[in-house]
């Protein structure tokens, strides 16, 4: 059987990736892994912001502390937060409301307000808001430290598999959509320009004479503000496209982002991980390491657990085959639940290969 290795050392180096995603099936130990890794990075001098994106947060519970949507200092070099999608949606709607001033006749405010309130409940809103927040955090991670940023590395404790993969696919879908809309704008603007050329720039002159312009009737409600409106629509779409493209580029940049996969040596998590890692590879997302969690410790375990061990060995062999190219590290099953910083620090050392063998649990 392949001995467990450790995570690539470059994670700890100052020039290492600035964005880490920890993914895996529900209940395999993503939050523990993310926390242990963040503690270890903080210890080696890379200041971390640990972010839970799972709507069912458990990050705070691991540290035995109440976390919220704003970063909270856990110790020197380690901040943590739990995203609150509802709050994100609210903030976004407020922004839309603000932009509305001056664009919409006040008589319509009420109607738009109703529309916005409906959107709060719309399917996908929470997901979209989470996605939006994640991409903004990622953009921040690549920006200069001087702008009040108190961390160097972002560690995402992501939601179970499906959600994570969706987050990866979203920028692409969104970019395609925005692209399509922008093309429509291009065509509309092209018609507009052709129309202007044909009018030979004499429209203004003739309007000054008080003529009724026939083409204005044709276009219906063409008003002077329409060009401005068209311009703003374009701006909104371009800004969206910029942010999706940036998130996608960062996600696929091995110098910037690293993906760490967590699983346990059991049938269902292995099957799910095979599918997920395959999809990640298809998207060309760099998976730099894999945590095989809760491996039975060495030593005499008794008949019952020995039977389990026989089964586990088959699973470990399969993991070795399926993920041959990915550095893997085994974390032993501990005698007690992971609770408190000490256990996390120990797991952190195991992850980085500083503690090679698992000593008998206390």
């Amino acid at each position: 059987m392949t001995p467990s290795s450790s995570f690539p050392g470059f994670l700890r180096e100052p020039g290492g990736p600035r964005i880490l995603f920890i993914g895996g099936k529900g209940g395999v130990g993503k939050t523990t892994t993310a926390s242990a890794l963040a503690l270890e990075l903080a210890r080696s001098g890379r200041r971390c912001l640990l972010v839970s994106t799972d709507p069912a947060h458990s990050l705070g519970d691991v540290f035995g502390i109440r976390l919220g949507p704003r970063p909270k200092r856990l110790r020197e070099g380690l901040l943590a937060m739990e995203l609150d999608p509802d709050e994100e949606v609210g903030r976004y709607l407020d922004q839309v409301r603000e932009n509305m001033q001056g664009l919409v006749r006040p008589a319509m405010y009420h109607e738009i307000e109703r529309q916005l309130e409906l959107s709060r409940q719309a399917p996908g809103a929470v997901e979209a808001a989470t996605m939006d927040r994640i991409s903004r955090l990622m953009a921040q991670a690549t920006g200069p430290t001087s702008r009040g940023r108190e961390w160097d590395v972002l560690v995402f404790d992501t939601a179970p598999t499906g959600h994570t993969l969706r987050l990866l696919a979203l920028p692409e879908i969104m970019a395609a959509w925005t692209e399509g809309l922008l093309r429509r704008r291009d065509r509309s603007d092209a018609w507009g320009r052709a129309l202007e050329r044909l009018s030979g720039g004499r429209a203004g002159e003739r309007a000054g004479e008080g003529d009724e312009l026939s083409y204005i009737d044709e276009v219906g409600s063409e008003r002077p503000s329409d060009d401005d409106r068209s311009h703003r629509i374009r701006e909104v779409l371009l800004e969206r496209r910029r942010s999706f493209t940036r998130a996608r580029r960062l996600l696929l940049d091995p110098a910037m982002t690293a993906f760490i996969w967590v699983l346990i040596p059991e049938k269902l998590p292995i099957l799910e991980s095979e599918k997920a890692v395959h999809t990640l590879a298809e998207h060309r997302v760099p998976v730099v390491g894999m945590v095989v969690n809760r491996v039975l410790p060495a030593g005499e375990l008794g008949a019952f657990l020995e039977a389990r061990r026989a089964q586990e060995e088959a699973y470990l062999a399969r993991i070795g085959e399926s993920f041959a190219q990915i550095p893997r590290v085994h974390v032993p099953l501990l005698a007690r639940d992971v609770e408190g910083v000490e256990t996390l620090e120990r797991i952190g050392r195991i992850l980085m290969g500083d503690e090679t063998t698992a000593p008998p649990p206390t």
Partner: protein, 92 residues
């Protein structure tokens, strides 16, 4: 009686404008219609969710709504519908 040269120039210019109007008028109409169709399509794409067509970006296109409200109102009037045909999207 000799014609006043200024008046003649004026008349020629007027004739020129009429000719121009005659030749270009039709094309102007066609261009304006094309643009209008394109804008309608754009608007309906943004509102597709409201019409029951799943739109992966509907959350992000919310910010376009204020820019499209007037156009939507104008559209349903032009289409001969006195009120908004969309359930849950009223503009008048």
């Amino acid at each position: 009686m000799t014609p006043d040269p200024d008046d003649l120039r004026g008349r020629l210019r007027r004739a020129g404008e009429l000719l121009r109007e005659f030749y270009e008028g039709r094309h102007r109409g066609a261009l304006a219609r094309s643009r209008r169709d394109e804008d309608d399509l754009f608007m309906l794409l943004v509102l597709s969710e409201t019409m029951g067509i799943p739109n992966p970006a509907s959350y992000y296109t919310l910010e376009l709504l204020p820019l499209l409200y007037d156009r939507f109102h104008e559209w349903h009037l032009r289409m001969g519908m006195e009120h908004s045909p969309l359930e849950g999207f009223r503009c008048c």
